[in-house]
């Protein structure tokens, strides 16, 4: 029927439907549980690979290179800003009341990092102070 297509608006139909379950309940796994418990106590935990010594933040069950189970949990310190961005409009292109600055906070000698809402003047590599231990973190640059 390549040769007899029609294009009138009322002849072309669409069908509305969804592809949703009511909700998802994700388990977070043993390592994220340890992390979230630490977060409540104001601690940022990482987990160390016994072979290469890399510390993963947030902690991970396994090392992505050595592929072995990670060992001890360690508390990581000295957060700094790896990168940042400021958001002016939301997903639907509606202007936000207040622009939000989001950053990726990494920790000294650790792999990985956490998303954070940033106050103050952001700068790449700048040390930050954690104001609130939550997801996302709240930090002051």
């Amino acid at each position: 029927m390549s040769w007899d297509k029609h294009g009138k608006e009322d002849e072309l139909l669409t069908w509305k439907d969804v592809m949703e379950v009511e909700r998802y309940v994700y388990t977070v796994g043993p390592d994220s549980e340890a992390f979230l418990r630490g977060l409540r106590e104001g601690k940022i935990l990482g987990r160390k690979c016994p072979r290469c010594g890399r510390v993963y933040v947030p902690p991970r069950l396994y090392c992505e290179d050595c592929f072995l189970e990670n060992g001890e949990y360690v508390e990581v310190k000295e957060p700094y800003l790896d990168s940042f961005t400021t958001i002016y409009f939301d997903n639907r292109e509606k202007r936000l009341d207040e622009p939000i600055t989001v950053g990726l906070v990494r920790f000294k000698e650790a792999t990985g990092g956490l998303l954070a809402i940033v106050q103050g003047i952001p700068e790449i590599g700048k040390k930050v102070e954690i104001l609130e231990y939550s997801i996302p973190l709240r930090v002051r640059a």
Partner: protein
């Protein structure tokens, strides 16, 4: 390994809303054109395997693979889906031919983002549920924002440079028949735009677009049966940097560094400067420069300012407009760049590099080296 030839290519759509055809009908239209391009081949007899590239939540159908075979002539044939970018599908086709199970393979990919009513939420669904989705950042472009800030900090690329990319690509699109977002812009137009997500404005961000693309691949032995001047894929590679945002390298397209290492090695291409054109993913203006850099071109900011990447210069980048002009057809994005490259090469040049990216929030990309 032997080279694999692109003997036919066809497309349909590239409009912000293909209202009159369902995605299946778009696939059929694109397939018809591709088979005609391949010398009027009969897909029911002359094709050994079919590959479709799609993702469930883009389609709104769980197991969307079900709808892959019929419209491309693949029912009751070896047909499969690669849940990835079209360029990954091309790599799988390349492997099928080299493994010997097939001589002629069809790779198909399509997108119907106009059917998706909750596009940002679908993108969000691809993010890690614990650490990224839970952060509830109001705009998913923030990942590009983080990446762009770091990239510009490291390389010295400025907002003016990004504007130059936007102007170049959107204008180049005016020459092609499938670029709904092409336009003439001046530097002031671009620089006066409001930021959506720092450092990106509305014109720095490409929009999704409806479209379907079908590519016919053939082995060295069979290629000339369908086409006197096949475009050869002499090298292909793809790679995933870390899929978790916090573990991936920000500000550098590591995935393309790895993918191009594989593809260039296979094609025995010593330097990316030796090709006649580059077709790289430019879903965000900075991504074009970042991707060109990852392919092994140094000092991209300076080169851009010297006019290196403009059409008619040493190394044209996206001379057909890229995604900024054409929009990105989701998983068909990689194939849309291949389509640009094939058309460009059919105009007479002898080689090109295609580099794709799967978009937010992934860190996956593929590279193909095309030669005549």
């Amino acid at each position: 390994m032997e080279n694999v030839g692109i003997v036919g290519i066809g497309w349909y759509g590239f409009s912000t809303n293909v209202h009159d055809l369902s995605f299946r009908e778009m696939m059929f239209e694109a397939a018809q054109r591709a088979f005609y391009d391949a010398g009027g081949m009969n897909p029911r007899e002359q094709i050994d395997a079919f590959i479709s590239c799609q993702e469930d939540f883009w389609e709104g159908i769980s197991i969307s693979d079900e709808f892959a075979p019929d419209p491309v002539g693949g029912s009751m044939r070896p047909t499969m889906t690669v849940a990835g970018d079209g360029l990954q599908g091309l790599a799988h086709g390349f492997m099928l031919i080299n493994s010997g199970v097939a001589d002629v393979v069809v790779v198909e990919s399509h997108a119907k983002p106009s059917d998706i009513l909750t596009f940002p939420e679908i993108v969000e669904l691809a993010m890690d549920p614990v650490y990224v989705r839970e952060a509830k950042i109001p705009n998913y472009h923030f990942i590009a924002g983080l990446d762009a800030t770091k990239f510009m900090h490291r390389t010295g690329v400025t907002r003016e440079d990004l504007a130059e990319v936007v102007i170049k690509n959107r204008a180049s699109g005016l020459k092609t028949g499938r670029a709904p977002h092409a336009s003439m812009l001046s530097k002031e137009d671009v620089l006066s735009q409001e930021m959506i997500v720092y450092p990106l404005t509305r014109v720095d961000v490409a929009r999704p677009v409806d479209g379907a693309i079908v590519v016919v691949l053939a082995s060295e032995t069979f290629a000339r049966k369908f086409n006197d001047t096949p475009i050869w894929i002499t090298g292909i590679g793809f790679s995933t940097d870390n899929s978790n945002l916090e573990l991936a390298k920000l500000g550098d397209a590591f995935y393309l560094r790895k993918a191009s290492e594989l593809a260039f090695g296979m094609a025995k291409l010593e330097s990316p400067l030796k090709v006649n054109g580059m077709f790289v993913d430019d879903r965000y203006s900075y991504k074009e420069l970042q991707h060109v850099e990852a392919l092994g071109v140094n000092n991209v900011a300076e080169k851009l300012r010297e006019g290196y990447f403009h059409e008619g210069s040493y190394l044209p980048v996206n001379p057909k407009g890229g995604h900024l002009a054409k929009g990105y057809p989701l998983e068909a994005s990689g194939l849309s760049l291949v389509l640009d490259a094939v058309e460009y090469m059919r105009e007479g040049v002898s080689s090109a590099v295609v580099a794709s990216w799967r978009g937010i929030p992934t860190f996956t990309g593929g590279v193909a080296v095309l030669q005549r």
